[in-house]
Assembly symmetry: D2
Homo-oligomer: 373 residues x 4
């Protein structure tokens, strides 16, 4: 239940205030010359304390690789890695020992396991996603060599939303602001609302949009192995995620088939150079593009060579810096006053996590599709 993937598999471990966060990547192809600087830069995009709109917890989040790599290259054997927790203020949490924080996993973990590490949410903390970012960075690097890119950005914070379709956006703007919205004017408004929410000791939700480009035709499987279902499951595994849709998604349900169907472009008008190419399965079929891409790059669970795009909804962080009434495990009422360091809005830091999960999913399906299935 802590393992993700079929061929490229991440097994994750670690608690927020334990010794270390870590993981094991199994099924990584051999011979990949890893770009350790890139891996660290991805961790830096996720790490706390990176700007004044995130938590102030300071962590170096330096990854130490323990196996599976020899002379800088992967060997095909499992890649074990750890990231030591350093800036733990465990004492911040001592008053939470027997208290259930509202809309947190404290109560459900206690009911399920009886004995739990309550410090900072323990296993339910989003610190666990460090492992995913490490594995996702490696997946991204392998995909990049195949011409596949994964790009996510913040498309909504509270009521501020970016209405521009992704094809009209300049992705190089994403990292220009701490909120990771590529429309700089909208980004400014988002940052403003986060500052305001933070000042009030409150939190706010939002939406991340993600685009996978260069994915070849043929990834995914019918029925229970659909590519979009795997992406949905991957996204819903992220802390605070409450929804997923792809293509026109929830916004397309009121439309008619005649509006939403993606008609094929006759080959004369297609740019052959742009067609992505997967050697094994599809060597014999001509590739075609579609005029529109309302489907979001997947038909019948299988990628069709168009861009895959989807949205992930995130709820506001449950931890507030204002008092909340709650109960302890005996049912006694108490007033919760949180002393820890917390994000007023997860969206900026969710962006690299969404990318990591998407990269692992696409790579896993790419490896599967490259077998003789």
């Amino acid at each position: 239940m802590n393992t993700f993937g079929t061929i490229f598999r991440l097994t994750s471990f670690g608690e927020s205030h334990g010794e270390a966060i870590g993981g094991v990547i199994d099924g990584c192809p051999a011979g990949v010359l890893l770009d350790f600087d890139f891996i660290q830069s991805e961790l830096d995009r996720r790490k706390p304390g990176q700007s004044d709109i995130t938590t102030t917890r300071k962590e170096a989040d330096k990854v130490e690789f323990l196996s599976g790599i020899f002379e800088g290259r992967t060997t095909g054997t499992p890649i074990g890695f750890i990231i030591r927790n350093s800036n733990q203020h465990s004492s911040d949490y001592h008053n939470l020992k027997d208290v259930f924080r509202p809309s947190h996993a404290d109560y459900t973990y206690f009911q399920k396991y009886g004995h739990r590490d309550y410090r900072g949410g323990g296993r339910s903390s989003a610190r666990e996603t460090i492992s995913r970012v490490v594995a996702g960075a490696i997946a991204k690097q392998i995909l990049k060599e195949e011409g596949i890119s994964i790009t996510a950005y913040t498309s909504q914070v509270g009521a501020i939303h970016l209405d521009t379709f992704y094809t009209e956006l300049d992705f190089s703007n994403i990292e220009k602001t701490p909120v990771r919205c590529p429309d700089l004017a909208v980004a400014e408004k988002m940052i403003e609302i986060i500052h305001q929410i933070k000042a009030e000791g409150d939190t706010i939700g939002g939406v991340v949009t993600c685009v996978c480009q260069g994915v070849p035709v043929g990834l995914g499987n019918p029925v229970f192995g659909k590519l979009h279902a795997a992406l949905g499951s991957a996204m819903l595994s992220i802390n605070a995620a409450k929804g997923f849709d792809y293509g026109m998604g929830f916004n397309g349900v009121h439309q008619r088939g005649s509006e939403l169907n993606d008609l094929f472009l006759p080959p004369a008008s297609a740019n052959d150079e742009d067609l992505s190419f997967l050697p094994p399965a599809s060597a014999d079929g001509k590739k075609f593009k579609t005029k529109t891409n309302h489907s979001g790059g997947v038909q019948g669970g299988i990628s069709n060579g168009e861009d895959i795009y989807f949205r992930v909804a995130f709820k506001p962080v449950a931890t507030l810096l204002q008092p909340q009434p709650t109960i302890d495990k005996e049912g006694n009422e108490t007033l919760l006053q949180v002393k820890g360091r917390h994000d007023p809005c997860v969206l900026p830091r969710a962006v690299p996590i969404v990318e990591a999960m998407a990269a692992m999913t696409v790579l896993d399906f790419w490896l599967l599709a490259s077998s003789h299935e």
Copy 2:
């Protein structure tokens, strides 16, 4: 890739115009006295030709059980079953042999597999979901004995949407209209729009809402085994599904934590009789209810004893009864004129499929949670 579940597992097979649709249910508990009338009644809710707002294909959809049942009771061994296809008009599809229907899986299957059964969409047809309804009916029966119910309904067709929260609805109205919306006034409008769309040879999308009641605390797992992620994956495996959210989902992203957090009810105000109870894991912890349920019954991936509710977005059916330009596998342009029988709107028939997938998922997690994990 055609198997669903971990303990309670459905392996599905069959094409729209092949010999039979069928499946194997593995991991079903032994000793269950099956209610065959109930199983058939669930199939009847899914079957084509049930009303004038569905396809006119006529199929008896009678299930034949081949194994795993002795003297009417399950034996714990795999339950094999088949449903013969009878009303196949394969000749309707002969002109589709080399043509790719827009927004269908024709092109992606052809690219992936080379050789495909093009008749009626073959494996990509929603006829495959018959197997799911059989397995779901058995899962529902087992869950019912544990006090768990699964109820879905049509909450949106095109622009017509039901805004009432599920707690205010009378579920006994669901089966009173062919569109399966429990608000009879809204149902009437939905039926009207479907008739209109059908007359135009067009199609329309919509939303199904599903509620799981009586689910005990403790189902689901942290990180990659989250209950809501499994529900999302299950729903996104249904034909034409484009999105999933649970609790406040996409509608909650603009709200603040202070609005959305679910505060606990002190035990004095809770009705102890109502608390669901899962014996093995949680014998020692007091159960608590929450004042609101914006979370949708899951915290940190684990059920908290509140109702689980979620939405599934469905796109309009891709097959239109009006001409559409498309191409064949050589890239030649052609005009597609469909002769088959098709649904103008999948929503009414999607309702029992959503229930079936939810029932299988919840039962599977219930069986998992009952182990000594």
Copy 3:
């Protein structure tokens, strides 16, 4: 628990005296033109009543394919199939309703499931292996196109054993006698002992040896995905199997490393034409042969291009045609007098089952190795 394999997967169902035995093959490559006569001929090698040294139950064992095949070729979608049981004498078993036959699964099934189909052993009957032979025949056909052959034979019946190493045997003799031993003189002795045992109402065990030829270098994985461990698990899943070894196995434990190590042949002396070749992973490495093959074709869990050979031990059939004392489920002593039709020795019919399981295993690993792992 009724599914075998990772990419090429068989899910099996059916009881000895139920409606049908069947299965679903998932992950079969698309585009394979199936040889239905070959599949049936493999079933005929397994079926009862084929000679006077097997049970006299008469079954046509004709397979009906229900899906996954279009115009004679596989489509990559799951292949559902059934074999109707016809020659059931269920009444033979009515006296066994509450009785536990010694060294059968009656007692363990009853303890585990409570409710069971006692007729003919139900699910624990070797009739279940029909499904395996169907899937194995398809696997064999695919392997054959890759130059891989799977050959098993009876190497021991009771105290009569074949001491000749497989390289000295003429495999074309295997099907010349009903006992399937390629040394015709030894076969004669085996048949004689089986006749004698049968006349006494007793049963006898034996050993099947299996050889996989043409397996390329690189199938299998380190640690928990070893090829020989998968073969062992596959063989031990066969009814009455009690042991497995490969290469020199149990017979090599008293030897020294200096005797048993397989030294490499310098390339000059190797016949390059003979080297098997797996394109994706091993394009860059020169292939080498070894002087001896005491290892049995696997080093560190991965095939080395030499022949893979292994043995499977089978116990004597538990059902005797002589009276045996036993107890019923209340613990009352009773005398068991079996009326059914049974094999005095499973070895002859185990040969095609061993081959089927080996073929599925090797194909599955071949498909896995052909991915970008």
Copy 4:
């Protein structure tokens, strides 16, 4: 491929001469107060340099737990752990960079992965089994609380074999000699032969026998989930293992059914106090014992409450301290002169590894059987 188990799962990583060996244990029940001294004592039974009949490599093999444990108790979340490699003499292996050692995995790893860590065998080294011993020690502790014990011993070294059936042995003698054979006279002969072999720079194989006592009725599943097949697969995953049999195994094939069948003991003669008891599945069935246990405690893949016993064959270690001719990756002939430190016989150190794998397997099946399957 580096993950073992279904509910109780070990994911293993690490190379012989890398930074660390480690693993992640997922699915461990929550609330277990771990006995860290016991875990270390199990590691000490496996570690190198423990006697003059093992390798002289010196490793502390101290385990560091990183997660999943809070205040000494398991929390149900994954237990990450590492063991640093300290006594690496990597330079010993530099001359092996391009050379394939006979009957090692050098050639197959090179063919499969291209790039490999050649130092000390890298991933193919038995140092990897440290992870298994850690997980096995935890499994043993949980099983012990359920009254289940796992005991292995060396029953053969070269031609010296212990013929006494396990019921006649005094298990408390096992740890009295470094060879771990409970018959002290036989142990002495085994030690003598190992000394002699070592002096000659050669190696020798042998057999480990393992007994699982107190296993309740009902563990395991029909067809592809048989308990003995899982045990076989587990054992064959151990380095140098070449064979597995259970019950009478290969030694029973020449016997008759009338000799080998295990007749039931009428309940009057059974000692009720001795009957093992599994609450969930088997509450309603009376338990019975058998007069003999030729079956080895498993019928039809499911434990029957008798002792489970099995044998594992180990080949002689492939690394010799005498010169061997071999080739390098270009096919050039060379004389191999090993400088590393190696075991003349793996048997003594294999004993705790066999126990660890057996404990993980039995616990996993016990957890599975305790679900509502």
